[in-house]
Each structure stands twice: as C-alpha cells, then as structure tokens.
C-alpha cells in the first residue's frame, strides 16, 4: 500500500532481476527520457566495479488536479545472489515490480532463479505475488545470442504479466515498461485511493503526469 498523507501519495516501484540484467541502466535511461513535473537525481550506490551493492533510487513526481502530490520512488535491487537479504529489504513495501530479465540465452537459468527468488521474497515480506502489479522486461534483445522474441512469448503465454522487449542501453522499451507498470499500478489502487473520484485523475492523466507528457 502506498504511503500517503493529506498532500502526498508515494508509490514504491522496484526493478528486480538477475545480476547485470540492466536494472540500473533502466533507471538512468528513465531519468533521461522522462520529464515529469518533478524529477530528482538518480541516487546510485555503486561499488568501484559498477555493481549495485545496496540500491539505486530515482524519485519522480507530479501534482494531481486536486493538489495531491503523487510521487514515484523507483528502486533497483542488487542482482548478485549473495545480497538476498538486501534484496528482500528493498523489495518490502513495493507497490509494483519491473522484472528485468536478461534475454541472453546463457542467462536463462539465472532469470529463472531470480524469478523464483522474487516470488519467494514477496511471500517473505508480505506481498501478494499473485496480485502485485508487475511487468516482465526482456533486456538486451539486440544480443546475437538473445532468445528470439517469439520463443519467449510462447513460453510466457500463460503468464498474466505484460512482456516488454527492451534494449536499455539505447532506451528502447524502457519507457514502455515503466508506462505499463504504472498503468497496472493505477488500476490496482484507483479504487482504494480514490484517484479518479477525489483527485480527478484518469488513468491516462496519471500516466501522462508520471511520464511528463502534459496532454
């Protein structure tokens, strides 16, 4: 459940996935691509070899017609297996997840294990995995060794989550992933938080506010 008071509503969104699948790159590209009313700096905590040790954070925000300030805080988890405790702590209280998988065929096992750990950690930190807003992004689709899109779609056809094929380095698919996630987040919380009824926010306005397209 997002944190809220009379003037603020904060959604915590988490980028989860195996090591070096491109979670931090997603955040950096979003920072470049999005132009919402409020945008903070990306706070990264990288070690000297550019691996995320704790998390990265990108804050975004816009004001609803009602005056309510809607904030998004985008976190990445450390992907390395050893940091499972940290991953769990970052994942707790999440309102939505982008699972960033590595499309490289050699990474299929790591993707699977990471996805398993996401499901298990959701249960541990009290998140309902079945109903958690989520988007699955297959990054690095331009790799020669990437699993073909058709094959991935076939394999995930039974899953309820939207699939996005991305090349985070160039920004391709990054914005789409984020948009699809906050659409799901909106649908998930619209009723409970009276986004439409009290704050005059439609789904499109919500998305436009977050992405910074003042339509």
């Amino acid at each position: 459940m997002p944190e809220s008071d009379a003037q603020h509503l904060t959604f915590k969104l988490v980028y989860y996935g195996p090591a070096q699948s491109g979670k931090t790159t997603n955040l950096l590209r979003l920072h470049d691509l999005l132009a919402p009313e409020l945008k903070g700096e990306v706070m990264t905590m990288e070690t000297k070899d550019d691996r995320t040790l704790f998390f990265d954070l990108l804050p975004l925000g816009f004001r609803a017609p009602s005056g309510l300030l809607i904030k998004f805080r985008l976190f990445t988890v450390p992907g390395q297996v050893a940091h499972d405790g940290t991953r769990k702590a970052v994942l707790s209280r999440a309102d939505g997840v982008v699972f960033v998988a590595d499309a490289d065929r050699a990474q299929e096992t790591n993707n699977g294990e990471s996805f398993q750990s996401l499901a298990a950690n959701c249960a541990r930190v009290g998140l309902d995995f079945e109903h958690l807003p989520m988007v699955v992004q297959f990054n690095k689709c331009d790799l020669p060794s990437a699993v073909p899109e058709a094959e991935i779609r076939e394999r995930w056809s039974a899953a309820p989550w939207p699939l996005v094929f991305a090349i985070a380095l160039t920004g391709q698919g990054v914005e789409t992933s984020f948009e699809l996630l906050i659409r799901t987040v909106y649908r998930n919380f619209c009723q409970k938080l009276k986004l439409q009824s009290e704050h005059g926010l439609s789904e499109d306005a919500f998305v436009a506010g977050a992405l910074g397209m003042n339509a």
Binding site: K12, L38, F54, F55, K71, R73, G85, T86, V90, R124
Partner: protein
C-alpha cells in the same frame, strides 16, 4: 511503518545536534553572520530566522526537506551555501539509507538463518523420532525372536523329555513284564503246594510225585528275579527323578560328577549295543548351578557322542573326564564316532543345524547346550576329525 531505509528522511534526522554544532559556526561565518536553518514545516533547527531573510530551499529528492535563511549573505553566497549543504546532506542520506538497509538485510539474513535452523531442528526431531521408532521396532522383533527361540528351546526340551520318557517306558515295561509272568508262575507253584494236602499216599510220595523240589528251587529263583526287576525299576525311577530337575529354576550346589553319572545312566537306558563308557572323574568342588539345566546339557552332549558312535557302525567308547584347577572345572567328553568336518564344526552351535534326517532331531541339541554353558558363564568348544572322533570341552569358572 516509516522506520524503513526507504522512508523520506527529515532534516533533523540528517543533521543531528552534534553536526549542527559543527557546521553552524562555519556557515555563519560564510554567510556574513546571520543565518538560520528550518525544516520543511518551518521549525527552526539553527539560528533565528529574521522576517526579511532570503530563503533557499534544500531539495534532496522532489520536495524541500528544509530551508536555509540569511539576511546578511548575498544571493550568490546563499546559493553557494545551499549547494554545500546539499552535497553534505546527500552524503548523509546515502550513508543513512545504506546503513539502515544494511541493518535490515542483516536482520533479514538472520531471520532466514533462524528459519533454516528451525527447519533443520524439525527435521532432526523427525529423524530422532524415526530412529526411536525403529529402535522400538527392532527391540520388539528381537523380543519376539527371543520368545520364539525360548519356545523352541522349551519344545526341544520337551521333545528330549518325550524321547526319554519313551525309552523309560520301554525300560520299565521289560522288568514289569517278566515280574508279572514270574508272579503268575509262582501262583501256579503255590497251587502245587496246595495239592500236597489232598494228595493220596505219604507226604514224601506226594512231594516226589508233584516234583516239588524243582518247584521250590524255581520259585525262589523267580522271586529273586522279580526282586532284581523291581530294583531295576526303582533305579530308573530314581534316575528319572534326579533328571527331571529341569524345571527347578533355583540354583544349588551340585557335584558335576554326579550330574555326569546321572546323564550317562539316562543315555545308557536307550543305548545301542557295542558302546561303552569310561570314566576318569577327579574330585570336583561344589558348583553353584541350575542342576536341571546342567543335566540337560550333559545329556545332550553324551547322547550326541553315543549317536556318533552308532553312526560309525563300529563299536566304540565314550570317555568322560573331569578335573578342577584354581580357575574352574574342566570336563571333556570324547567319543570315537564318525567325527565332524570343519564345516560341520562351524555350524554345530547354530540353532536348527542338524546332519540327521528330517524328523529325527530339530538341531537344537548343541545350541541348547551352549545356552546353558553361557548361562553359567562357561565355555564350550568342539574338536573333531572325521572318522576319528570328537571331543567336546567344557569349562565352568568357579569363584576364587
């Protein structure tokens, strides 16, 4: 729920009193004397905000966490001070978030270790229960086996008692038969004497005519024979009585030589011809034992010796010797029978091992013997050569 690392940190959390004390004077000097610091709600953390002061927002993420105010500083100086404050605050927030997250993740790791520990404890408990169950089952089965073995042991005892009884019946029937026939004859003889009373002629003529000389002599013989027969029966009954101590479970002092003699007389009763015994018994100290069981043991061993000789088809000898030293009593029972192969010796003490045809023995003789020996803390061993004979050595320790 705002204690997580990902909460939005407040200015007074990031700048505690100590660090305010450190940077306050420095900022004050930089900003020309007058400066104040308030949090985002306007609460003063440092200095005294004057109403006409310039105000710069301190924004870490999206919204101001506080304001820097000064009436004496130039806009450029105030802006520079703001940048300085911001980089200070960013470093601080990064440190706070990382350390809080680290604590959370350590706690989480600890939780998973505890979960793992609980899981292991549970599985350990499960295995313990399982092993307890197994142990109980093994115990129960061992108990059952022991019970069955005891039953078989009893059965064997009964069988040998039965064999013994059949032999005894035969032995007793024999003298009984001739005693009865003697008495019948003797009754007729007494009739002859009665005839003497009515016999015509002189007493001497009658005596002569009735051949009473012979009848008198034969009658006395008949009575002597019968008395001998009765004695035989009496002896058999006495032996049997001594032997039937089997079920008397109380320990007593016994002379093992007597036990050997009793056992021999039982075996002798049903012994085929051509076999004789030789005794070489030295005086033995009294031995505390279960005499019934010891008799059973000697009976089994001596009967085996006799049967081994019978199997060889030759006449033979069973030599029984005993002697005592300071450690205990040594008894050797040697026969000149068929002997045993090494393989047979290896199996000899196993229950149900027998070389005899089905129906003539269950194969518990030596097993029973060993049980009895072990119950008396003794030892039993076999030494044998095919066609030469077998020696069974027994040892019973006596307390010093």
């Amino acid at each position: 729920m705002t204690q997580g690392f990902d909460r939005e940190w407040q200015l007074d959390e990031l700048l505690d009193a100590a660090s305010q004390g450190k940077i306050g004077p420095a900022l004050s000097a930089l900003l020309g004397g007058d400066f104040a610091l308030t949090d985002q709600a306007g609460k003063t953390l440092w200095g005294q905000p004057s109403p006409e002061a310039r105000r710069e927002a301190l924004i870490l993420e999206l919204e101001p966490v506080g304001y820097l105010l000064s009436s004496s500083a130039s806009p450029a100086a105030l802006s520079a001070a703001r940048q300085l404050m911001l980089s200070l605050l960013r470093a601080e927030v990064r440190f706070k978030m990382a350390s809080t997250l680290h604590l959370e993740s350590v706690a989480e790791d600890f939780e998973s270790l505890k979960r793992e520990h609980a899981r292991l404890s549970e599985s350990e408990a499960r295995y313990k229960a399982l092993s307890g169950e197994l142990e109980a089952r093994v115990k129960k089965q061992v108990g059952e086996l022991e019970e069955r073995q005891q039953m078989l042991y009893e059965a064997e005892k009964l069988a040998s008692v039965g064999q013994l009884a059949a032999g005894m019946a035969h032995e007793i029937n024999n003298p009984l038969g001739f005693v009865r026939s003697n008495l019948t004859t003797f009754e007729k003889y007494l009739g002859k004497f009665a005839e003497l009373k009515t016999h015509p002629g002189s007493l001497a003529d009658g005596w002569q005519a009735l051949d009473l000389d012979f009848i008198l002599e034969d009658g006395i013989d008949l009575l002597h024979d019968s008395a001998k027969g009765m004695e035989r029966i009496a002896r058999i009954v006495a032996d049997l009585k001594a032997f039937s101590n089997v079920d008397r479970a109380s320990q007593e002092y016994a002379d093992l030589n007597n036990c050997l003699r009793e056992a021999v007389s039982m075996v002798e009763a049903q012994m085929p011809p051509g076999i004789h015994f030789r005794f070489d018994l030295l005086p033995l100290p009294g031995f505390v034992c279960l005499p019934g069981h010891i008799n059973q043991l000697f009976f089994n061993v001596i009967r085996n010796a006799v049967l081994a000789i019978a199997d060889s088809g030759r006449p033979g000898e069973v030599k029984i010797s005993s002697e005592a030293d300071e450690t205990g009593i040594h008894i050797r029972i040697h026969d000149t029978g068929v002997g045993m192969t090494a393989e047979q010796i290896g199996h000899a003490f196993e229950p149900f091992y027998t070389t005899r045809p089905v129906g003539s023995g269950v194969g518990l003789g030596l097993a029973t013997a060993r049980n009895v020996v072990q119950a008396h803390s003794g030892r039993i061993s076999l030494d044998s050569q095919p066609d030469v004979g077998t020696t069974v050595s027994l040892f019973f320790p006596t307390p010093p």
